[in-house]
């Protein structure tokens, strides 16, 4: 067992974990952060995507011990003050989800995409979320959602600047 301390969605946790514990299993089973899910075992599907120190990672391909001293943000931590994150709202308004299983990872990947490229083209959006598989939507509405969020987030950013 190794002791770790980690901040997840704004709260601090200290735990003993086996080194082999995957970050996603730590989040789900020890912290009860069950909004983040597991969809595969080869890091292909991206359902488990979270932000580790501000960057998207597949939490099934990171050990919990590697998050020691880090800040983790999950789908449960992106809404602020009761307001949905613009990406969450965009997925809702553009019908970018059906069963919703890929959605947490897809939203976290999409937020990361816009962080690096605030005004992506359709092709850049499609490539930016290539590591996240959705079996329901055919992706068209996901692309539309990311486009909507990009528009909103860049205009908000512009207003703040």
């Amino acid at each position: 067992m190794t002791q770790i301390s980690v901040r997840v969605d704004g709260a601090s946790y200290a735990d003993d974990v086996e080194p082999r514990t995957l970050l996603v299993h730590y989040l789900r089973e020890q912290l009860g952060k069950v909004g983040t899910v597991v969809g595969c075992d080869t890091s292909n599907c991206g359902a488990c995507t979270v932000h580790l120190d501000g960057e998207s990672v597949k939490s099934c391909t990171v050990l919990a011990v590697q998050a020691d001293g880090s800040e983790v943000t999950t789908i449960e931590g992106i809404a602020e003050g009761g307001e949905l994150h613009p990406m969450q709202r965009a997925f809702h308004e553009k019908h970018g989800l059906q069963c919703g299983y890929c959605t947490p990872g897809m939203i976290m990947a999409s937020i990361d995409l816009l962080k690096n490229n605030p005004n992506p083209s359709e092709a850049e959006i499609r490539e930016g979320i290539e590591g996240n598989l959705c079996r329901c939507t055919g992706y068209v509405n996901i692309v539309r959602a990311v486009q909507q969020a990009a528009g909103e987030m860049s205009s908000t950013a512009g207003a703040q600047a």
């Binding site: 899910v37 080869t42 449960e76 969450q88 019908h95 919703g100 590591g131 079996r135 068209v140 509405n141």
Partner: protein, 825 residues
């Protein structure tokens, strides 16, 4: 944090909800991670199950010693097939398609023999999932290999090795539909004898894996001799009945709950061996248990779909008029018959004639056992296979006759004024206009421009050639009229149930027997009820998926939910209004006949202003201080609806495809479809269903294939080798609709869940062929891997078999023997 919208109201009361692009109620929890997936469930004292699974495709278990695993820390129990052989029964098969169908039985855990790779051989039950998985490795097992049966065409030959020693052949059944014998058409042999032109083809419908995103999961809670099974299932109601019959737990002591379910596509239309074993283990130990599969476990052991070899012949006159259709199928059952394994190809039997006026038709199908995981329902279930065959061979006939493929179709399809039309397969198509949908699709694609570009590319010898593929399809939805299912020997009916509970505050609970897993029932049903009862959309809550709440139902599959389940909701709402009318008449001191009900309000004809809202009546009848004599103090109601016919969505799908003739790589340039799914309740949900269906149908054409090697190992055992397309691999879809209401239900809805998946596959393959046909290519096997396309262009044939060895990603299969040699940094 709720998702609210301003209620849509006008001066005349609420606007119609049906047809309104309502955003989904379901999303609130799904976009915030406040979900209830089965794997999220934790019960006090819950134990975890992990399986030892067979690494060989066909063998007797010669030695099995679990003692070392039992001694591992935190292991509570280890079971083998011997422990459950007397109580596990057999996984039920609800569809004996012929009276003499051979069903060898399907144990949930192997007892003496394993018949496919991945079959459960032992179960470890431990305090943690990690402990269970670790202990599986301590089980000592030996197998004595038996001959492996994989190839259907070999398996049906005399003297072939057998999958099941208890049977006399690998053929489970021989199913025949002959229109001449059924009286729905003329003699097929005569049609072919007299034909001016015949075209024959052998098509391969490759094996697919449903690959729902949420892996299967089951949790069993124990309360004395009562059991609750939470499961990632499409079919809690069917699972309850079948689970009770299989385990012997009395039905009234078994509750099944499908909480949030992450997709199914037919893949969760099953009574899974693991669900049965979870019940048996929980009963044996008296403790709650959980099992959640890994993705590789899912790909290997959850049922697969498709897998047919299709021999199809079409007869025609020289002018293009079709005169006969003959279909012979070999359908791979896999090693066992699961819930509707044998029925999938039989369901397709009625759809091979498509939208065309064939006078003669004969269908024969052999269900064949092989040492692979069983097949069963996958999005479309029988209809995609049929649609592919007919839409592919119509193109082949057009080539043979040197006709434009659309002209050939137009010459033979049912015209708008001929509806309702009874087909050679005996189905009565309800409504539609194939010409109208086709015209709209041609415009949406920009057909003429693309044809001109195709010509230019051909003339210039461009290494990238362009093709346009057509699929003019129909399908049968709204499963299903119970009597028809009975005539097909299906083990259940096809009705659906709904009830409506009017709460004292005027809020409305709708209970549906149709259990969603991503389709948006909560939103669509709310829209229907809002219109029927004239209450705000926001005041409606839809309950589902728990047999304790929704006691009757037949669940979600076969594009049936809206058509059958939605209609049941309408019928229940009509009953609520009828019951409320009596109370309104009493309170308004008017005759029932003088009341009109509009916008949620009863009013007396010719007396504007006065009236009583149905939500007010709900409170009045809760108090029950003043209501008519002789009626019950409730306006709640329930209804069951059994359709009298199927519904028949149709559409025209067009795919423009670029083919790089140097590498064989294919790229969809543009995809356009116009579908008639009847009345549209929610246009954004409909569009989303089309998009998703298209993605899956296109993925069959281009990407997906379950491949077994010569020993029966599933090579495509992870998402590294079983390829699902990402956003970067698919185009934007241009979709549209025509509307011809279904005639078999009051909503006029036909069903949309499977349309895109059924229609798109042949459009894509036809497009690729259209691009390279001038190079001598007549067929390419699915999926159209670049290698197959390149071989078909440069070496002839259909591209042939793919090599069975997996790719070397992550070290591939090679690492299993020796471990990775070098430090993998």
């Amino acid at each position: 944090m709720t998702l609210t919208e301003d209620p849509t109201t006008t001066a005349d009361g609420p606007a119609k909800e049906v047809g309104n692009a309502r955003l989904r109620k379901e999303d609130a929890r799904l976009i915030t991670g406040k979900t209830t997936w089965t794997d999220n469930m934790v019960l006090p004292g819950m134990l975890h199950m992990a399986f030892l699974r067979s690494p060989v495709a066909h063998a007797t278990i010669s030695h099995l010693d679990v003692s070392a695993a039992k001694d591992r820390p935190n292991v509570v129990a280890v079971y083998t097939g011997q422990d459950f052989k007397d109580e596990q029964g057999t996984i039920p098969c609800a569809w004996p398609v012929t009276p003499d169908m051979v069903n060898p039985g399907h144990p949930s855990i192997a007892v003496d023999t394993v018949n496919h790779v991945g079959e459960a051989v032992a179960i470890v039950v431990a305090r943690t999932r990690t402990a269970a998985v670790d202990a599986v490795e301590a089980i000592d097992v030996d197998y004595e290999n038996l001959p492996v049966v994989l190839d259907m065409e070999e398996a049906v030959k005399d003297g072939a090795d057998l999958v099941h020693a208890s049977t006399s052949s690998n053929t489970s059944y021989h199913f025949v539909f002959d229109a001449g014998e059924a009286g729905t058409g003329s003699d097929t042999d005569a049609a072919f004898r007299d034909a001016e032109v015949t075209v024959s083809r052998r098509f391969v419908q490759q094996r697919l894996i449903p690959a729902f995103m949420e892996p299967r999961s089951a949790v069993v809670g124990v309360q004395g001799d009562n059991y609750t099974l939470w499961s990632a299932t499409q079919i809690p109601h069917i699972l309850r009945v079948m689970g009770a019959l299989t385990t012997g737990i009395p039905e009234h002591k078994l509750r099944v709950v499908a909480p949030d379910v992450g997709g199914g596509f037919g893949g969760k239309l099953q009574v899974c061996p693991e669900e049965i074993l979870a019940l048996l283990v929980a009963r044996r130990l008296g403790k709650p248990v959980k099992w959640t599969e890994t993705r590789s476990e899912s790909l290997m052991t959850a049922h697969h779909g498709r897998d047919q070899i299709q021999y199809i012949d079409v007869a025609a006159k020289k002018d293009g008029t079709v005169t006969g259709l003959r279909v012979r199928l070999l359908a791979d059952m896999g090693a066992y018959l699961r819930l509707i394994t044998p029925g999938v190809p039989a369901l397709g039997a009625f759809m091979f004639p498509g939208i065309y006026k064939f006078p003669a038709y004969r269908f024969e199908c052999d269900g064949v056992f092989t040492n692979k995981v069983p097949t069963d329902a996958y999005r479309g279930a029988g209809r995609p296979e049929a649609t592919f065959a007919i839409e592919r061979i119509m193109d082949e006939l057009a080539v043979e006759l040197d006709m434009d493929p659309m002209e050939l179709r137009r010459k033979n399809w049912i015209s708008a004024e001929e509806f309702p039309f009874t087909t050679v397969a005996g189905l009565e198509y309800d409504s539609g206009d194939y010409e109208q949908a086709t015209q709209a699709a041609l415009e949406l694609l920009g057909y003429d421009e693309l044809r001109a570009e195709q010509k230019r590319r051909r003339e210039s010898g461009d290494p990238v050639q362009l093709g346009i593929g057509i699929s003019t399809f129909t399908e049968m939805c709204g499963l299903a009229p119970s009597r028809v299912l009975g005539s097909l020997s299906f083990g259940a009916g096809g009705w659906e149930q709904a009830s409506i509970r009017m709460l004292p505050t005027g809020k409305v609970e709708v209970v549906t027997g149709s259990t969603p897993h991503g389709q948006g029932h909560e939103t669509a049903w709310s829209q229907i009820v809002a219109d029927e009862l004239g209450v705000p959309f926001e005041d409606v809550e839809v309950l589902h998926g728990d047999t304790a709440i929704s006691s009757r139902g037949l669940d979600t599959y076969g594009s049936r939910s809206l058509v059958v389940g939605g209609t049941a909701v309408v019928k229940a709402a009509e009953k609520v209004v009828a019951k409320a009318r009596k109370i309104a008449a009493h309170l308004l001191e008017a005759s029932e006949d003088d009341l009109e009900f509009s916008g949620g309000k009863f009013s007396v004809k010719g007396t504007p202003g006065a009236g009583l809202g149905i939500q007010e009546i709900a409170l009045a009848i809760f108090a029950a201080h003043d209501y008519p004599e002789g009626i019950e103090p409730s306006i709640d109601a329930e209804a069951a609806f059994d359709p009298v016919n199927f519904s028949f969505p149709h559409g025209t799908h067009l795919c423009a495809m670029e083919v790089d003739t140097e590498t064989g790589f294919v790229t969809i340039r543009k995809y356009a479809s116009v579908d008639d799914i009847g009345t549209i309740v929610n246009p954004i949900i409909v569009e989303g269903q089309m998009h998703g269906g298209l993605a899956q149908g296109i993925a069959q054409a281009l990407y997906e294939e379950a491949i077994y090697d010569a020993d029966g190992n599933l090579t495509t055992g992870t998402f590294v080798d079983y390829l699902l397309p990402s956003a970067a691999d698919l185009p934007t879809f241009h979709t549209g609709n025509t509307v011809h209401a279904a005639t078999s239900n009051p909503l006029g809805a036909k069903g949309v869940g499977e349309a895109g998946c059924i229609a798109s596959t042949p459009a894509v393959v036809n497009a690729a062929l259209d691009a390279v046909r001038h190079l001598g290519v007549t067929d390419i096997r699915m999926p159209l891997t670049p290698e197959r396309v390149w071989r078909a262009i440069h070496q002839g044939g259909d591209g042939g078999d793919r090599a069975a060895e997996g790719s070397n990603a992550y070290g591939g299969a090679r690492t299993t023997e020796s471990g990775i040699e070098e430090a993998a940094q």
